[in-house]
């Protein structure tokens, strides 16, 4: 768990054209770039187009190389910063998430004492989704093409 906290971590959304779907390009992230990944969601459409939401961690430099490699192999990549959501009904404004948020996207407003979520600052690291005691922070894995 520790290396995840310390290392670079990003969630990316990949779309594979049918000719790439069958090849093990994603596994090569580990083999060639020493990155670890965690598949958060994967789908293959009837027309053999694949999509995958991947949490990649490792050194920042390797991350960029790895992403470059995927692009060379015809995979489309979308960052998923906009895919972290807060359920406003559920959030109790306790503040616990502010302990782990590395970008200050989650911050306590000292005046109102409400916890503000600034989506623009969010790097989609996913820490808050683990830490929030009422699971108000979620990673939305919906395919936003439709």
């Amino acid at each position: 768990m520790q290396d995840i906290v310390k290392g670079f971590r990003k969630i990316v959304y990949l779309s594979f054209p049918p000719e790439v779907s069958g090849r093990p390009v994603v596994c090569n992230l580990t083999r060639l770039f020493d990155l670890s990944f965690n598949i958060l969601k994967a789908d293959i459409s009837p027309r053999h187009e694949g999509t995958m939401t991947l949490e990649v961690s490792g050194l920042e430099e390797s991350f960029h190389k790895g992403i470059g490699y995927l692009k060379e192999n015809g995979i489309r990549i979308t960052p998923v910063a906009h895919k972290i959501f807060r359920n406003e009904e559920s959030c109790i404004h306790c503040g616990m998430c502010t302990a782990m948020c590395p970008t200050d996207a989650l911050m306590l407003d000292p005046g109102t004492r409400l916890v503000i979520f600034d989506v623009d600052k969010c790097s989609a690291c996913g820490m808050c989704t683990r830490v929030c005691p009422v699971k108000a922070m979620t990673l939305d894995l919906k395919d936003d093409r439709n």
């Binding site: 109790i92 404004h93 503040g95 302990a99 306590l108 000292p110 109102t112 004492r113 409400l114």
Partner: protein
Amino acid sequence: MGQHQVNKTIQEINERIRKGKAVVVNAQEMIEIVRRQGKVAAAREVDVVTTGTFSPMCSSGLLFNIGQQPPVMKVSKLWLNNVPCYSGIAAVDAYLGCTEPSEDDPLNKVHPGRFVYGGGHVMEDLLRGKAVHLRAEAYGTDCYPRRELDKDITLADLPSAVMLNPRNCYQNYNCAVNLTSRTIYTYMGPLKSNCSNANFATAGQISPLFNDPFLKTIGLGTRIFLGGGIGYVIGAGTQHVSKPQRNERGLPENPSGTLMLKGDFKQMDARYVRGQSLLGYGVSLAVGVGIPIPMLNEEMAHFTGVCDADITMPVKDYGYDYPNGISRQLTRVTFEELRSGEITVNGKKTSTVPLTSYAMSLEVADELKKWIERGEFMLTEKVEDIPSF
């Protein structure tokens, strides 16, 4: 009580509540009133100060009865949504503790565990009107032959359901830091290495037991707001410390007073009863508790005038000291400093992280204030003191 310039009784205050004439303020508003007018005038003007807190309170649970369905049963083991309940009481009574994880939870096998579901969540689900799966086993007797029960139930199906909390409303607490070189996951939330964050609980100046530090008006029989319904204080909570070290305002300097509470669960509202998953630690329950403090005299006005700057808390290391039972205090900080977003520990700036929702705590105090203003909630006289010196 000595001589006071203002002397009111609970009966008089209730009379004013009944007539819709009582002056009720929340504990935050009271600070300004006492500051501006002084304690004597404040005690004359105000009748009731409402306090509130909304925080994880691990020592909470639900005492319930499932009723009989012939052939009748003397339950020996019982689960609600796969969360084990204690059923070593009577035939169909059981107690669900809020920190009980679901039986198949992976716990901390992969650290830090997520603790997705447990007793606290069952309680929240019941209040949301959701169906909960009940499973029970028995060994069977001549008078109670049934050996198994498997069905879905809702809160409405339970003949009785009482929230029964052995320890709530801690009067003061520790502020937690971590001096080790790895992130740890505690009941005080996640603590990053090398003292990078300091986590603190309680609602500070509006928290019930900071507003009546000697429990002069709170005792067995005090009617309160509990989880959105009406509850009662039924005595000292477990681990209650009656003779803590106090500052010049009488405020305890360490975790000290606690309350045991009960209330009719069926009246409660899921908004104020929330299951919690504490990463790497376990399951818990955030409960909203509001306690009305009657302004019997200027002494109570003085106490309820407490502000965050008056409250101090010990900062403790949860990385090594706490797990090893070492009660070393690294430093003391005021609640006001904690609220500012940054404190200094061992010469290092550390960002502070609250764990208690001040916004929700204030909402609890305001809800209770509304009830009293509408004449729906009468104050009670305590029947027995909770020792506090």
